[in-house]
């Protein structure tokens, strides 16, 4: 048994490459050991930005010995006329067997020559050495590169390699580098390289040098450091948790330091200060009672005896960024909101589809439709895009992510109504299902905005296909669905959703706002068909994501119902009903009704069989069914959206339909009898079809 240790030394890996890389490295070794029956103790995959390490304790010297059954030719080939043949002898020779090793294996096809052959386990050293190039090449990275003429593709150049098999160094290579006995330590420590001779000495040297191989331990050091800053300054929270995850893989030895910012920067919105710190610089900001404090923490790599220079340097960089932000803030606020609003006119929204100010006008008009002409909502819609032309947001700076929030601050600064300001911020919510939901007015503006984005993109032909969705329209549609259905703690909560009778109507209104020049009336139906199909697809996908079986989704969606909340309620009810024993039978029966009507329409070329007439029913089964049908219709009307009750009515009605099908042939020779029966079936099919389309239910 030996310990195995591999260290692949690299020029700094991108932080987000690291977790995936070590997982794939470890998984490959575990698979190698398992496939070759090599017993091992515990293993660990470790990493810093400069190294990927795989360490495995107690690895067996060789794979387990085993015996293997080998099959030879059948008996009649091996023995002819009582004598062994060439085939027999060749088998023995090829497998290095003697007479005592062999036996006859009885099979269905007769007896065959066979033997148990002893296969000694190969040396682990050899197995690893052979597998290594494949393992190295298969370490997973989002992107790989070339850097020398070795042909190896890896995330970043490999600069050294350790491959200890106990105290022995395996003859492994990585690109132009051969495994050696030297590792690299922290760049700021006095000792930058060290000789090591085994896994144990390696781990000891590394531990002493201060660099931390374990991601968990680095995270702990960072969190403890931030906690200390938090306590020392009486802060209640820091921004942000997700930044910690990134910083863990930006350093080999985290060293938390703090710097200060001048108090006058606190005039900026806290989001701006936090963004200036976190977006590019990866600094942490601290909050007390919603207010940001005039300090920041950052994580240096390796400890510094005199960190003064490091701190001052970082303060300088941040000051430049905050100066930029302060400049943008003053430029924008001194110009005032109306000036920003006027600037919307100078910026193209989408080529050929007018300016941002035209978009704002469409949003206002759609919001008026969605929110009963409410003045506050309309103003919010009109002002919702003003920050796009602001200095703070335009041209993709670190503050661009704050689009919406910046508009809110500028509107507040301009003395606008708070609700109007909040609409500008919240109408982008939710970006994904589960994010906080906006208030109703902002929800209306958000629906209008996304409907407009979708229609606009479709007008320009940017229709999502496969993996191509340059305008992220699927996400836009998903947000609309989230706004309409509503949720709480991630669970659908229809009361929290926005009431919209028909998304299709919103799309029609949106499309018409572009005018006949952009959208000629004769092209409108095709455009809307595409948009509605796209949206319908998203809605069905969302229902399936919410756990509704796909056949129920199709059954409730393939109805004339337009209201998404109603569809959702129905989907939920029919999902529950589909658990009842009779459900599939009911579906089968009424699918048959649908099929007969459909087929008859095609065969007889009749669009509509009209209303059934009582006097043309002859058989008692037909009469009974027709009489009962009147009751069922009334019952369904009374049931409203009580789908249990509706289903019970349908279930009960099935007991009248079954005898009818058992005894009566619908397609009678007499055309008037036949058509009257079809008229009744057509009525049934239409009424039930308005509720749920049984055709989609999987019956078996």
């Amino acid at each position: 048994m030996r310990d195995l240790l591999l260290e692949i030394g690299v020029e700094e890996l991108p932080a987000d490459y690291i977790p995936g890389a070590i997982a794939s490295l470890e998984a490959q070794f575990r698979r190698l050991f398992e496939e070759n029956r090599i017993t091992v103790g515990s293993s660990e995959a470790l990493a810093t930005p400069r190294r990927l390490v795989f360490f495995c304790q107690g690895v067996a010297e060789k794979e387990e010995d085993r015996t293997e059954k080998v099959m030879g030719p059948p008996r009649n080939i091996c023995i002819k006329e009582g004598k062994v043949t060439m085939a027999y002898e060749k088998f023995l020779e090829k497998n290095n067997l003697t007479e005592s090793d062999i036996f006859w294996e009885e099979t269905e096809k007769g007896a065959y020559l066979a033997a148990h052959r002893f296969v000694p386990g190969r040396m682990t050293r050899q197995i690893i050495t052979e597998a290594w190039p494949g393992i190295l090449g298969a370490v997973e990275f989002p992107k790989k590169m070339r850097w020398d003429d070795s042909g190896l593709l890896f995330a970043r150049p490999v600069r050294w390699l350790l491959a200890f098999w106990g105290e022995e160094t395996l003859p492994l290579k990585a690109g132009g580098v051969t495994a050696g006995q030297e590792t690299f330590l922290l760049r700021n420590s006095p000792k930058k390289r060290a000789r090591v001779s085994s896994p144990a000495t390696y781990l000891e040297v590394v531990e002493k040098s201060g660099l931390i191989l374990s991601r968990e331990r680095r995270r702990k050091v960072i969190l403890e450091g931030l906690q200390a800053v938090l306590e020392k300054n009486g802060a209640s929270s820091f921004h942000s948790e997700s930044l910690v995850e990134e910083v863990v893989d930006l350093v080999e030895a985290p060293f938390v330091l703090t710097g200060e910012i001048a108090k006058h920067y606190l005039a900026l919105p806290p989001e701006v200060i936090s963004a200036a710190m976190s977006q590019h610089q990866r600094y942490f900001s601290f909050y007390r009672e919603g207010k940001v404090l005039p300090l920041f923490a950052f994580v240096a790599n390796g400890s510094f005896v005199h960190p003064g220079k490091v701190i001052r340097g970082n303060e300088r960089v941040l000051k430049a960024r905050l100066d930029d932000a302060m400049f943008y803030w003053k430029e924008d606020t001194s110009r005032g909101v109306e000036r920003l609003f006027d600037l919307l006119d100078t910026v193209t929204w989408m080529e050929g589809l007018g300016s941002l100010s035209e978009k704002a006008a469409r949003l206002e008009s759609l919001t008026a439709f969605l929110f009963d002409g409410d003045e506050t909502a309309r103003t919010g819609a009109r002002m919702s895009k003003i920050d796009i032309v602001s200095e703070m947001i335009k041209d993709g700076k670190e503050f661009t992510k704050l689009q919406g929030s910046i508009a809110k601050y500028y509107l507040l600064e301009d003395g606008r109504e708070e609700e109007v300001a909040c609409i500008a911020e919240e109408h982008y919510w939710p970006r994904v299902w589960g994010d906080p939901l906006p208030r109703p007015r902002a929800a209306a503006v958000g629906l209008a905005d996304r409907a407009d984005n979708i229609i606009g993109a479709f007008l320009k032909g940017f229709i999502p296909t496969g993996t191509k969705d340059p305008y992220a329209l699927r996400r836009q549609a998903n947000s609309m669905i989230a706004l309409i259905l509503g949720y709480e703690k991630g669970e659908v909560h229809l009361d929290k959703g926005f009431d919209l009778e028909s998304v299709q109507e919103l799309f029609i209104k949106t499309a018409r706002l572009y005018g006949a020049e952009v959208l000629p009336p004769k092209e409108e139906p095709e455009l809307l068909r595409q948009v509605n199909d796209f949206f319908e697809d998203r809605f069905r996908a969302q229902l399936r994501a919410l756990g509704i079986p796909y056949d129920i989704v199709d059954a409730v969606c393939d109805t004339p119902e337009k209201n998404l909340k109603v569809k959702y309620r129905k989907a939920l009810a029919f999902k529950a009903l589909s658990g009842r024993d009779e459900f599939r039978d009911v579906a089968a029966t009424f699918r048959r009704v649908n099929n007969i009507v459909k087929k008859a329409r095609e065969e007889l070329r009749v669009e509509d069989f009209g209303l059934p007439r009582d006097d043309l029913f002859v058989e008692k089964e037909t009469k009974a069914m027709s009489r009962e049908w009147v009751n069922v219709k009334e019952e369904i009307q009374r049931a409203g959206d009580d789908y249990d009750r509706i289903f019970n009515a349908i279930l009960n009605f099935k007991t009248f339909v079954d005898p009818f099908f058992d005894t009566v042939l619908v397609m009678d020779k007499d055309a008037s009898l036949r058509n009257n029966r079809l008229a009744l079936l057509q009525d049934i099919s239409a009424l039930f079809g308005g509720i749920v389309n049984f055709d989609h239910i999987v019956v078996t």
Partner: protein, 286 residues
């Protein structure tokens, strides 16, 4: 350390590493990468080690000389090595140490920043190098240039000289940098910033620039067809700069932008292709 001493220090250092000390190219350009010493030389198979200062223009960054950190004209120090020495990262860190930025006292970090220039169809993987949180160098392993895979790979180190100098001299504005002991950067370049900012952002005659762009494009393609790579490539540089001025001037809409970048890239690719072909025929040995 004055600005000119810094350049001399870097020259001395890279000279010791075997680099040719070269000079800037005599045309307006957005980055040292455009210099044929980098763009064309990264396309062939011959070894290459060079270092040079490159004055660069980014018309959009003009701030009339009022912003302490940003200007439409600035200097890069460019180092290119092919093939890449195994210890290149170490060599680079030692160059910082020559400027007084030793790793024992400063937090030197390599933060992932993959580089792409759609205008010349080039991309590479690498980092921005931070010293105490400040980006001072772009460090890139080219993978493609002019739409062609490069082999051997060239490594490019691009130092932002003003940034580095501001840090080393501890001044708050690039215009306060000491060029030498008597003269500041601002005394030499401030008025240049003011006038060129006016030109880039307000005064440039866009109609004239458009016409020139079209004419350059034609000329470039004609020269490519005659396999006169170097003159043809000059017109790529010219159009790239015209595009930058037109953009700063607000004369290019967002959707036109992609189209124009595509047109320049087409020229760059054509030059790269002919350069590579001539080299493989043994007709171009610089």
């Amino acid at each position: 350390m004055t600005f000119q001493q810094m350049i001399r220090t870097l020259n001395d250092y890279w000279e010791k590493q075997g680099a040719l000390l070269l000079y800037p190219y005599d045309m307006e350009k957005g980055a040292g990468t455009f210099n044929p010493h980098t763009f064309l030389r990264s396309l062939d198979r011959r070894p290459w080690k060079a270092a040079y200062v490159e004055p660069c223009r980014r018309p959009k960054d003009g701030r009339y000389g009022e912003n302490p950190y940003r200007g439409q004209h600035y200097f890069q120090y460019q180092v290119v090595f092919k093939p890449v020495p195994e210890n290149i990262q170490d060599l680079y860190i030692k160059s910082l140490a020559c400027l007084g930025l030793v790793p024992e006292e400063h937090d030197i970090r390599f933060v992932m920043d993959d580089w792409e220039s759609p205008t010349v169809g080039a991309w590479g993987l690498g980092w921005e190098v931070w010293v105490d949180g400040m980006e001072v160098t772009q460090y890139t392993y080219f993978q493609q240039v002019g739409g062609l895979e490069v082999d051997p790979v060239t490594v490019e180190l691009t130092y932002g000289l003003e940034r580095l100098a501001m840090y080393i001299q501890d001044v708050e504005s690039m215009f306060d940098l000491k060029w030498n002991e008597e003269t500041t950067y601002g005394e030499i370049y401030h008025q240049n910033e003011v006038e060129n900012s006016f030109y880039n952002l307000q005064a440039a005659d866009t109609a004239l620039l458009w016409d020139t762009f079209e004419a350059n494009e034609k000329e470039c393609l004609r020269l490519v067809s005659e396999e006169l790579v170097r003159p043809a490539y000059d017109f790529v540089i010219k159009n790239s700069h015209l595009f930058n001025v037109l953009e700063a001037r607000g004369a290019i809409s967002v959707s036109e932008r992609t189209n124009f970048i595509g047109r320049i890239r087409k020229l760059a690719r054509a030059c790269a292709k002919v350069y590579r072909e001539k080299e493989s025929r043994g007709e171009d040995n610089a």
